[in-house]
């Protein structure tokens, strides 16, 4: 497979034009032949040809159900699947035995919440995962529904109490009561590495340090960080890390749960069935070792292979360069969008400890209406509450418009966004 030349990882700005050539979709037009300006990578990223080729090649050359069968294709498919696990593990500084494939990040978080739920009715051997009345689970007000609702449900099922870090007006976590919120009763602290609405990068170290003091587990929702910055699980010191494939140039249908090996070994399964078992009798069953224990049924091997190709692509570009590129775009977008009269950025207004999700409101124009005009200009953004309804309620706004960037976006994309916002203001007669 021919490798693209991006320059040496970690040096110099990205050659965005070369990168864009790898993404067929970016050259298409939308709505009356307008060039597509894709600013919705926070929802899902586009995929380079190499990722699509990897999936196709698996189907064309090696397709078989993995971890079953003794024929050559089954061997090749299993090798490809497990090699993909190695690549993906390495991408976040982990070892393969700590990486579990799930349907998506939402399922990865549910896997942990349901393992805790299942532990609640098991014997005391699983005490460290058990929660019940008197125990507390801590989340934040800026969570995506995927890292909020599973914990709400776990609390409802077990009688545990859900607590949360508030968000400041600037869109940062308010850690002033860290020691009060995370206390001896806390069993799990689950929070986003980077907010999908505000762009805020949350301070992991002080929260992990406090969780360690009180013996609480820590789960980091890394859906918006792993695609956009170098992430190393050893540096973070968390217990669980969840991210999705489709937001990081990979295919749909695959998410990742990373967890410390000793936790995976102790945890009860979430979804049960084929290939996650040790032995099965009519009366009872035992479980396979992790990660297989958590991968019931025939897994998504073609998607794992394609996600590994996405990791390779990102590694060749260099994640530090991706982060640097997005930092430039974010700083430029904050400055240019923020300067439009009648526009207010929702979230930190400086590109400090901040990723590339830039949400905003425009006076007198509902986000749905704004999104419609932007779409008419070929600019694809997300409008609504971005699956973070409580955050919007806290900020006193029903909805926002969000532009989010990735390695294939350019400063010109930001210019197109600004110009389309101004068009919308003219169209609705709100331009001052």
């Amino acid at each position: 497979m021919a490798l693209r030349e991006f320059g040496r990882p970690g040096t110099g700005p990205l050659d965005t034009q070369a990168i864009r050539k790898d993404f067929e979709i970016l050259s298409r037009t939308v709505r009356d032949e307008r060039p597509l300006v894709y600013l919705d990578s926070g929802a899902t990223s586009q995929k380079p040809r190499r990722v699509l080729d990897a999936e196709r090649e698996f189907y064309e050359r090696h397709n078989a159900a993995v971890h079953r069968g003794a024929h050559q294709l089954a061997e090749e498919a299993t090798d490809a699947y497990e090699a993909a696990r190695e690549t993906i593990a390495r991408f976040v500084g982990a070892v393969p035995g700590e990486v579990v494939f799930t349907k998506n990040a939402t399922e990865a978080i549910n896997l942990v919440a349901y393992a805790m739920s299942n532990a609640a009715t098991a014997d005391d051997g699983l005490r460290r995962f058990q929660v019940g009345p008197g125990d507390e689970i801590v989340v934040t007000e800026m969570e995506h529904h995927a890292n909020l609702v599973p914990w709400q449900q776990l609390c409802q099922r077990t009688g545990a109490t859900l607590r949360w870090f508030p968000v400041t007006a600037e869109g940062r976590l308010d850690l002033s009561d860290l020691d009060g919120l995370v206390n001896e009763r806390t069993r799990m602290v689950a929070f986003a590495h980077q907010s999908n609405v505000l762009g805020t990068v949350n301070p992991v170290a002080p929260i992990v340090a406090r969780a360690r003091e009180v013996g609480a587990l820590v789960l980091l929702d890394a859906c918006q960080s792993v695609p956009h910055m170098p992430v190393d699980v050893a540096d973070l010191g968390v217990d669980f890390l969840a991210f999705s494939g489709h937001k990081m140039l990979g295919p749909n249908g695959i998410g990742v749960l990373w967890a410390r090996r000793e936790l995976l070994e102790a945890m009860p399964p979430f979804i049960t069935g084929g290939s996650m078992i040790g032995v099965v009798h009519m009366e009872y069953s035992t479980w396979a070792d992790p990660p297989q224990r958590f991968e019931a049924g025939v897994p998504m091997a073609p998607q794992a292979v394609a996600l590994a190709a996405a990791c390779d692509y990102l590694s060749e570009v260099g994640m530090d360069r991706v982060a640097e590129h997005e930092h430039r775009l974010t700083a430029y977008a904050l400055e240019r969008v923020g300067a439009v009269e009648g526009v207010r950025i929702v979230g930190p207004t400086e590109a400090v400890e901040r990723g590339s999700a830039v949400s905003f409101v425009v006076d007198g124009i509902h986000p749905h209406d704004l999104g419609q005009v932007l779409d008419d200009r070929g600019v694809a953004v997300r409008v609504g509450h971005h699956c973070a309804w409580p955050l919007h309620r806290k900020l006193g706004i029903p909805a926002t418009t969000r532009a989010s960037f990735y390695l294939y976006n350019t400063l010109e994309d930001v210019d197109a966004l600004v110009s389309a916002i101004q068009d919308a203001q003219r169209f609705f007669g709100t331009r001052p």
Partner: protein, 158 residues
């Protein structure tokens, strides 16, 4: 430009100067509807008057429709148009109008609305080309249907 087809002047007028807005009494039932994808919401009340002093049924007159809501121009204007169309009609006529409007919204831009039935609501024909916005246009209408059903159920339970 396709935008003008969607944002007809009638729609923008209703958005800027909504008709019959605000919650009023008396009312027979209230419905609160939310569009979970965007968070838009409407609270809508219906007051019905029995046709001839008899029980509330399909022949009852919609004597008032009042509402509060927040949302995009399409959802707000569509609810405003609804009040113009349905106040003073019978429940049966209202349901027929609802059906015609729903059909128009599901027409994917191919509908040929009957202006005698839908009046100002024909302006929403352009919205039907945008599947993501159809829910916005139907938000108030679904709340109306719900509130009327509740009113008639209450009557049935009496």
């Amino acid at each position: 430009m396709q935008l003008d087809a969607m944002y007809q002047e009638i729609i923008l007028d209703h958005y800027r100067n909504p008709h019959h807005k605000g919650l009023r009494d008396p009312h027979d039932a209230e419905a609160h509807h939310v569009n979970p994808t965007c968070g838009d919401e409407v609270t809508l009340r219906v007051a019905l008057a029995p046709a001839d002093g008899a029980a509330l049924d399909e022949k009852a007159i919609v004597s008032d429709v009042s509402y509060e809501g927040m949302g995009c121009s399409i959802s707000q204007a569509s609810t405003s148009v609804l009040t113009d169309l349905l106040i003073g009609r019978t429940v049966a006529e209202g349901m027929a109008t609802l059906e015609a409007f729903t059909e128009l919204m599901q027409s994917k831009g191919q509908g040929e609305p009957d202006e005698d039935v839908l009046e100002d609501a024909v302006a929403f024909a352009g919205v039907s080309k945008y599947p993501a916005r159809v829910k916005c246009a139907l938000l108030g209408w679904m709340a109306w249907k719900d509130a009327v059903s509740k009113s008639l159920e209450k009557e049935g339970a009496r």
